[in-house]
């Protein structure tokens, strides 16, 4: 990682920005997913088997 950033020559902002965007996005996603209601999850899992 250090080597990649060293190569960036003054535009490392783009790398850091993009990593941060993804990191924040992913943490948010993780947080929400683990708060999911189990009955909803169970319902969704069975959806393809619902009468068809």
């Amino acid at each position: 990682m250090k080597q990649f950033l060293a190569n960036a020559e003054g535009v490392e902002g783009y790398l850091i920005f993009s990593m941060m965007v993804f990191f924040l996005f992913f943490i948010g996603l993780l947080w929400w997913v683990f708060r999911a209601n189990q009955s909803y999850i169970n319902k969704m899992k069975k959806l393809p088997f619902d009468n068809n």
């Binding site: 190569n7 996005f25 996603l29 999911a36």
Partner: protein, 709 residues
């Protein structure tokens, strides 16, 4: 709550299934023909329309868009209706979509052998067909979103998210990459040039793999695999996580196709980092698929459909681990341009797309024909033929790839190249190419078994064109409840969902492209680089028509092994500023050509094009005798130059007006050179233009060096 009766449209599913089978045969046969030509060039029968450079795009387009494309639509039309508990939004749109797509395929099958190509990989079709693709794709999108809107099931199952992401992303990719300026009905130039064109192309190329070969199949996996296994998906939470991560990360990874090129370093690094990160969401999908089979392994032993799913999903796991590894710069340095990449994509195409398609056909056909598969034994035979076919295809190609990569870089103790003659490295791998075509034949034989089995099945059943179903109507008031899980809310709002998915994929593309297009220092200009002369421009268009870039790169990487072999400097971004489109290529079946200019006399090129083996004994390059017979088409020359001028190529009005005269002058000078060597070739032949172009390649930078001295 009112129970509504309706019918599922199975006829459209059947139609797409037939198209999948027909174009599977065509695509694989053309692939086989191309594979044989790589050790037996005469297999093109001496016809220009079947030469390697023209049928290679025919093979890739037929497999990706005709075989896999129709398979996607077959699976989507079957599963979407059932997951939404609704018939497709419009039967008319379904038919327009079906026939429109087949028309596109027909046009591709005609135009690609004729040499009408934009040269951009997996996007070769010319502009009128590009417009048709956009229209038919939008028809599909309207039909799909319409169905989702009129659904009777509140929640959108994970498969549908993948379908939505596929639709919107492919639309964005196709439109942005296909922006071109038409010259005639069959010829256009990409609006982007050089490095920028390369970046857009591989942003497209990589994400075509992601959103045409991956996301729709993940969606299909999430529907069909649980159905076939008779148990729900292993983890629904994992599917939420890996869906959003996958579509977010994928779009950034395109530049890993351009490592060690003149693409700015930061963009290459961005591509590498995101490619490595891709392992996680990709494996999320694989793990979810394989673990769905947990506790059902006894079934896997008996059910050929489940066997195909298991091997197909495993192939996906292998390919998506290998992809990030190939994106590491040190691995890429050896693997790029070699058969290793061919092995990699075929593990994905034959394993993941192929086996899943077969499994879906075997699962769907008996259901819509209200019968069972004619022969389970034949399904097992097919499974083994396909699996062994993949093994016998991939192993020789990996071996060949390692051999090429290492031979190209091998130095003697004295510090000179061990194999300075490129041809030696080609001849070394020919036996492996023979083996590869045998592997491909096995796989193809298996597919024929499928077709026989399906025909027998269809004969013993009868199509349930409209399958009756019923479900309670969806009352608007029940749609949203306070305090609901956010994703549950999102799943009820298809339009919001679609917009969010677009947002995810636009961020990555924008961060890569905007700086490359707007910051001048990213592509340093070189004063001595001038636009092509009229004759060179015509030569370049013939180079594009013949698909020379299918086997030759124009991109010398900054390695000693390459600057030594190609006797010149590594390629600079500034050298390509007038290249609409870029012609860097992605495979070196033959040597790189970026420093070819001035290396050999004109007469060498004449003999080499007419019969390559006379100059390079044992060469597997096809003969191009028609170039010495056909006349250069000068009718559109000034139109071509004007089109390029409008894209920023600095041709003056005088240059454009006098183009024909300038061209004639240069052509006669080449014809005279040839005459001195005893070759009688009239100056109006295509070969003259080709020689002019080849002799120009990479010479601008040499002029600069001479001036500096």
């Amino acid at each position: 709550m009112q129970i509504e009766k309706f019918n599922y449209d199975n006829k459209i599913v059947r139609d797409f299934a037939i198209a999948t089978m027909i174009f599977g045969v065509v695509g694989m046969l053309v692939g086989l023909l191309a594979a044989v030509q790589l050790y037996l060039p005469e297999a093109n029968l001496g016809i220009q329309y079947t030469s390697f450079g023209r049928i290679r795009p025919l093979h890739t387009n037929a497999i990706i868009f005709a075989f896999v494309g129709n398979a996607i639509f077959m699976g989507v039309y079957y599963s979407l209706q059932r997951l939404c508990k609704a018939r497709m939004f419009s039967d008319v749109l379904s038919r327009i979509h079906f026939w429109g797509w087949q028309l596109i395929i027909l046009l591709a099958a005609i135009t690609l052998p004729l040499g009408f190509t934009s040269s951009k990989e997996y996007a070769e079709l010319e502009w009128p067909i590009d417009i048709l693709i956009a229209l038919v794709w939008v028809t599909f999108g309207i039909n799909m979103i319409g169905t989702i809107i009129k659904r009777r099931e509140k929640q959108m199952y994970v498969a549908i998210w993948f379908y939505i992401a596929t639709f919107v992303t492919v639309a964005v990719l196709h439109i942005v990459n296909s922006l071109e300026i038409p010259v005639t009905f069959t010829k256009s130039y990409s609006i982007y040039a050089g490095v920028q064109d390369a970046l857009v192309q591989w942003w497209y190329g990589h994400n075509a793999v992601a959103f045409f070969l991956t996301t729709p199949f993940l969606g299909l996996m999430y529907y069909y695999l649980p159905k076939a296994a008779g148990r729900p998906v292993y983890s629904y939470k994992l599917s939420i996580l890996h869906f959003w991560s996958l579509i977010f990360i994928y779009i950034w990874a395109g530049p890993h196709h351009l490592l060690y090129s003149s693409l700015p370093d930061w963009a290459q690094s961005l591509g590498v980092v995101f490619s490595i990160m891709l392992i996680a969401p990709s494996w999320g999908g694989m793990v979810n698929g394989l673990l769905t089979l947990r506790g059902a392994w006894d079934k896997v032993r008996d059910e050929p459909v489940l066997k195909m799913f298991a091997v197909g999903v495993t192939a996906y796991g292998m390919a998506t681990f290998e992809g990030p590894m190939l994106s590491l710069k040190n691995v890429n340095a050896i693997a790029h341009f070699t058969d290793w990449i061919v092995a990699h994509v075929h593990v994905g195409a034959l394993g993941w797309n192929g086996l899943l398609t077969f499994a879906i056909i075997y699962w769907t056909i008996p259901r819509i024909y209200n019968t069972t598969m004619y022969s389970k034994k034949l399904m097992n035979v097919h499974f083994w033929l396909a699996t062994l076919g993949i093994v016998f295809y991939a192993i020789p190609m990996y071996w060949s790839g390692f051999t090429q990569g290492l031979m190209w870089k091998e130095f003697t103790a004295e510090g000179t190249l061990q194999y300075p003659e490129f041809l030696k490295t080609t001849l070394q791998i020919l036996p492996l190419h023979v083996l590869r075509s045998l592997g491909g034949t096995l796989y193809f034989a298996g597919f024929l078994v499928l077709i026989y089995n399906v025909i027998k099945t269809v004969k013993q059943g009868s199509l349930v064109a409209n399958e009756a179903a019923e479900a309670p109507s969806l009352e608007k008031s029940t749609l949203f409840k306070k305090g609901e899980f956010w994703h549950a809310v999102l799943e009820k709002k298809p339009i919001t969902f679609t917009v969010l998915a677009v947002l995810m994929i636009v961020i990555g593309g924008a961060v890569e492209m905007i700086p490359t297009f707007t910051i001048k220092s990213n592509i340093p200009t070189i004063a001595s680089v001038k636009p092509y002369t009229p004759l060179e421009l015509e030569g370049r268009d013939i180079y594009i028509r013949e698909g020379c870039n299918a086997c030759h790169s124009q991109w010398v990487r900054p390695f000693r092994s390459e600057t030594e072999r190609y006797m010149g400097e590594y390629s600079k971004g500034g050298e390509y500023v007038y290249d609409h489109p870029f012609l860097w290529g992605s495979k070196r079946t033959g040597p790189d050509l970026h420093r070819l200019g001035g290396k050999y006399p004109d007469s060498w090129h004449y003999h080499h094009m007419v019969d390559p083996a006379t100059m390079s004994p044992g060469s597997i390059m096809p003969k191009y005798p028609w170039l010495a017979e056909q006349q250069i088409n000068v009718d559109d020359l000034s139109k071509k130059m004007s089109a390029l001028k409008s894209l920023g190529v600095p041709y003056t009005t005088t240059e454009i007006n006098e183009a024909n005269a300038t061209m004639k002058q240069q052509a006669e000078s080449i014809a005279n050179n040839l005459k001195k060597e005893g070759i009688d070739l009239s100056s109006d032949k295509e070969l003259i233009a080709m020689i002019a172009y080849l002799q120009r390649l990479g010479t601008d930078i040499k002029k600069q060096n001479t001036a500096n001295k």
